[in-house]
């Protein structure tokens, strides 16, 4: 009998300990200039500080980009860093209702079209283009052609689907290849090769390739409110870090080199990547972008690109079946099929100092 009561007490104590443990969340990131800060945020304890404030436990895990998307779609992680295009064509199109809580930055030259022999865009049709097909790279390339009134020629372009881990080696090693489209740091690596020039980059389509922090909407809407507290903690930590990053001189450099370190990069290389990234250092600047009409125009372009390239799935009959909702309540697509939401409220709280 005494044994029994002992076990009973033990069970009670354990249950008590478990229920007292704060709800736990996992955030996934992959190496990219605009996402490396998340890793530093975790490593430096900044995220723990904010997590404690809101009573949540937050873990951060590194992935390769594609597996991080897979993990998010499979609901193995609660939040993930991804671009606006992938947020639409991976989780949203797979029926996982997704909410963007932070618009972190946009690519302002990180993605580029690189050529040998000073080719022009007009000379590319008929030639082969190395890129990771159906990604932001192809989007960038087709936008470049569209801007230069060459859309009609796109049919004659021969895409060679090339894995990003081998793209630099393949393009540099095989001089018969004339065109490649990719992103930094691969771009910087390839440009060091002889006779290679950059003819188009994402700074010519500013604000179209956005890097977001997205959370599953069902997590955000948990009845106990823990999901919202998680979002608040992440947002609070993010803007505290970006304000540290933007400090001039040695103080800012110290933070930047620590961030570079977590992704095994150097300060100078990280700064070079930051120079072609439009990072929203303040919550109010990010807020302005999220609430702008420009975001709607961008998402319209992106969703039509995704639809015409079959990225929303072969069974999706119309681009309206994967609808997007903006902070002002307007939607692109069917109102009852909203799958991707831009939520400005957390950035709003950060801007108003209410976190």
């Amino acid at each position: 009998m005494r044994k029994f009561s002992f076990i009973l007490t033990l069970v009670c104590v354990l249950a008590g300990a478990l229920s007292a443990a704060p709800p736990s969340f996992t955030l996934g990131w992959s190496v990219y200039v605009g996402w490396d800060p998340y890793a530093y945020m975790y490593k430096s304890g900044l995220l723990k500080k904010w997590g404690d404030k809101y009573g949540v436990d937050i873990k951060v895990r590194r992935f390769d980009y594609a597996p991080s998307l897979d993990a998010f779609v499979a609901k193995n992680i609660d939040a993930c860093a991804m671009t606006n295009m992938e947020a639409l064509d991976m989780p949203a199109a797979a029926g996982v209702d997704t909410t963007s809580i932070i618009v972190g930055d946009y690519s302002n030259g990180n993605d580029a079209v690189l050529v040998r022999h000073n080719l022009t865009l007009a000379q590319i049709p008929g030639k082969r283009v190395l890129l990771v097909e159906k990604t932001v790279s192809q989007y960038l390339f087709e936008r470049a052609m569209a801007i230069n009134n060459l859309s009609g020629e796109l049919k004659r372009v021969k895409y060679v689907n090339t894995s990003d881990s081998d793209l630099a080696g393949a393009f540099l090693g095989d001089p018969s290849q004339q065109v490649a489209v990719t992103w930094k740091p691969l771009v910087s690596q390839i440009l060091r090769g002889k006779g290679i020039t950059k003819i188009f980059d994402s700074s010519k389509i500013p604000g179209e390739i956005l890097d977001l922090m997205v959370v599953r909407t069902e997590v955000l809407n948990r009845p106990d409110g823990s999901g919202q507290r998680f979002a608040k903690a992440v947002t609070g930590a993010w803007y505290e870090l970006t304000s540290q990053m933007s400090k001039p001189g040695a103080e800012g450099d110290k933070v930047l080199s620590a961030i570079a370190e977590v992704s095994e990069d150097t300060l100078s290389s990280y700064k070079e990547q930051l120079a072609t990234t439009h990072l929203f250092y303040t919550a109010s600047s990010a807020l302005e972008m999220t609430k702008s009409e420009q975001l709607k125009k961008t998402m319209e372009l992106v969703r039509q690109f995704c639809f015409t390239h079959g990225l929303l799935g072969d069974k999706t009959a119309s681009s309206d079946d994967v609808a997007i909702r903006f902070p002002d309540g307007s939607t692109e697509g069917k109102k009852d099929r909203v799958r991707l939401r831009f939520d400005a409220s957390y950035m709003q709280m950060a801007a108003g100092g209410k976190l």
Binding site: A93, K134, T162, S163, G173
Partner: protein, 285 residues
């Protein structure tokens, strides 16, 4: 009960049932989980239902490929023509071509192995290098392969040859060494020359075993071929799988993987039949 004993004698029906049991369990648990996921999220793409996969496969096999020129009047074409213009057929052809070329290029590897085993000078020239090369993980040298062979067909075929070639060479070499010395001596005393001994006594004798070793390396060939297609290509079965992964097209990927498995099984079976036809005298020890 003698069920778990060595002497147990299950009836034919029992053997048949038992052999399918794991298949049934796998399928059942897949569809159980898949059904649960679809109840939770009707747009789930990670674990497609059987109907979605059937649809995905028929689309792949019957609808014209995206980039096909004659896509316009697809509805009036015959079944054969439809298959001929389909994504699946084009991918299978592209991968099959690379596969056949690399298999054909493995034959010289067999001859090299036999010569290494028979002629001491050839052996001492090649053996150490092939032994070394056999242990190189070819996939990690990709950037150098790109410089040497570009990124086109040549590179994919070379990747297979570098990966599987040394194994085949060494296997042929060892089999050659295993032929009893007495037979070779006997061949010479009966008046055969060097090449007659090499080709008509040794090669003839080891060929069923060599064919077997190539058959056992089929999977390695396929793995190297798939890696090559995933690194950089414009067509092929693995190219399609890599692309479909971009938007979680598991409803087509799973049938594709099963299709590849079926093809491999048929090639394996074909090679076994061929081996029996060519060498009816051969009994595996």
């Amino acid at each position: 009960m003698s069920v778990l004993q060595i002497h147990a004698q299950p009836s034919r029906a029992t053997v048949w049932t038992l052999s399918w049991l794991l298949f049934a369990a796998g399928l059942l648990s897949y569809f159980w989980v898949s059904r649960g996921r679809h109840m939770d999220n009707p747009d789930d793409r990670v674990m497609p239902t059987i109907r979605q996969m059937a649809q995905g496969f028929s689309d792949a096999a019957l609808k014209p490929a995206e980039d096909d020129e004659v896509a316009a009047d697809a509805s009036r074409q015959s079944l054969a023509a439809k298959i001929g213009h389909s994504m699946l057929w084009k991918d299978t052809l592209a991968t099959g071509r690379r596969f056949i070329i690399s298999m054909a290029l493995l034959l010289p590897a067999v001859l090299l192995g036999v010569h290494m085993g028979m002629f001491p000078y050839v052996g001492s020239f090649f053996l150490r290098f092939v032994l070394f090369f056999d242990k190189i993980v070819a996939l990690s040298l990709l950037p150098i392969l790109f410089i040497a062979f570009g990124i086109d067909e040549m590179a994919k075929i070379m990747l297979i040859l570098i990966g599987v070639g040394p194994t085949i060479i060494l296997d042929a070499f060892n089999l050659t060494r295993g032929v009893p010395k007495e037979q070779i001596v006997k061949g010479f005393t009966l008046g055969a020359g060097d090449f007659a001994v090499t080709y008509r006594i040794v090669l003839k004798q080891i060929s069923p075993r060599v064919l077997n070793s190539i058959r056992l390396n089929l999977k390695a060939v396929m793995i190297f071929l798939f890696s090559g297609e995933m690194i950089a290509s414009q067509d092929g079965l693995a190219y399609r799988i890599a692309l479909l992964r971009r938007h979680m097209g598991m409803d087509t990927i799973i049938p594709y993987v099963l299709w590849v498995a079926l093809l491999l099984f048929l090639i394996d079976y074909g090679m076994r039949v061929l081996n029996r036809k060519l060498h009816p005298w051969f009994q595996e020890a």
